[in-house]
Symmetry: C2
Subunit: 215 residues, 2 copies
DNA sequence: CGACCAATTGAATTGATTCAAGGTCCGTGG
DNA sequence: CCACGGACCTTGAATCAATTCAATTGGTCG
């Protein structure tokens, strides 16, 4: 339903650092990149699965809903991440763009080598998801937010300023909280001098150690 | 440290129904089965990874700890399940026997076909874990227990009586609750006539519909 | 400027936990 | 065979972390 708002980008080769993903890219038949504006559906629950998607820029959220509409975001994917891998031939989750997102579809080949690479990819993703189980099941709101911010810091190198692509609601649905709680925890961190909120979507981390101590 | 308490079982071929796992078994070099008594360590966090393990009988728990000792059980594996697949060359999680467990180690071959099968296996496991994220992040205690019991029912066919291999504490650490809460929810279900607690480890499900309605 | 959506903040509520006291079950040893 | 001890489970009461509800503020765009 959102597809009319998407359009093709140039098919220029992307610049991916991750050697694992580079190899994957080389062995698949990458299509042209597609642009999705804010909050566009990339694939829905029940859609035919099979394609892989490489994020060129922007952030994608992978979500799941309970019957009564509560949402759990299982992961955020940003530049260089690959998503869309699923067990069956139907997507059990749905993927949406958080901000403006460039995505390149990859068609898996039957190359035997390819399965190895996919397996590696799946296992890495697996490990991340599994770590998220501990966060959801056994961490407090403060710990969840601290972990979230530290993870964002790890993804980008060097800089201590985080540009949040997602809004409070998304963070809440990722961490198993409400958006009010997310807001309150950020305030607590601000009050303790751990972060500075440059703007609503810019967090400057002043004290990584204190963040780590929250966990 | 528990290895002295384990011993080899006969190397008789196991009877696995799942065709996926059967194929995997056929293509690997299955070792002899090993028996682990209650609460034995199968592998620890940091142990060298690489082997796969097929559960012959009994129940295994896959766990992770927070630095301060809170535990999250990421999954229970019972007869026919394969576990031990990991991203790196070190186990990031640890596996223990819940009750008396028979486990057969599989050594993955370099067969190209094997990667496909492993991939399938990883993706199925992936889907299950991802469903667990919703449970941990967005469900109430009642919903969590209802889901847990329904899942146990699905695994066994026909019978409405569940034999719990694990104790309250394990269930709690799997569902992100305390063991007291697990106990209280069971009582609530009993009071509503949804289940009958034949004994501490035998739950008779009287009303599946009511269970489903709790979710 | 006004409208709208997101974010913040406060107050009241609640679901689950923590703490504490019993109860049940089971294996062991007198 | 029964009493005892210990581990697990249940139950109650008090507490608390997070949510819900409600109001306000802030930011953005036409």
């Amino acid at each position: 339903m959102f597809s009319q708002t998407t359009f093709q980008l140039s098919a220029a080769p992307s610049t991916v650092q991750d050697p694992e993903v580079r190899a994957l890219l080389a062995q698949s038949q990458p299509g042209a990149a597609t642009f999705y504006p804010v909050d566009a559906m990339i694939y829905a629950q029940g859609d035919a699965a099979g394609l892989l998607y490489l994020v060129e820029f922007g952030t994608v959220r992978i979500c799941q809903l309970t019957p009564d509409g509560r949402r759990q975001i299982t992961s955020f994917c940003s530049a260089g991440d690959v998503f869309g891998l699923e067990a069956g031939d139907e997507h059990q989750f749905y993927a949406e763009s958080v901000d403006g997102v460039g995505v390149r579809a990859l068609r898996p080949t039957n190359d035997a080598n390819f399965a190895f690479r996919l397996l590696r990819l799946a296992l890495r993703r697996f490990a991340r998801i599994q770590a998220h189980l501990v966060l959801l099941g056994r961490m407090t709101a403060n710990e969840k937010m601290a972990r979230f911010i530290l993870d964002l810091l790890d993804r980008q190198d060097g800089d201590d300023v985080i540009n949040l692509a997602m809004q409070r609601n998304d963070i809440a649905d990722y961490l198993g909280l409400t958006f009010e709680t997310v807001s309150r925890v950020l305030r607590l961190m601000k009050d303790r001098g751990i972060v500075r909120l440059q703007s609503v979507d810019r967090i400057e981390v002043l004290d990584r150690g204190a963040l780590a101590d929250l966990i």
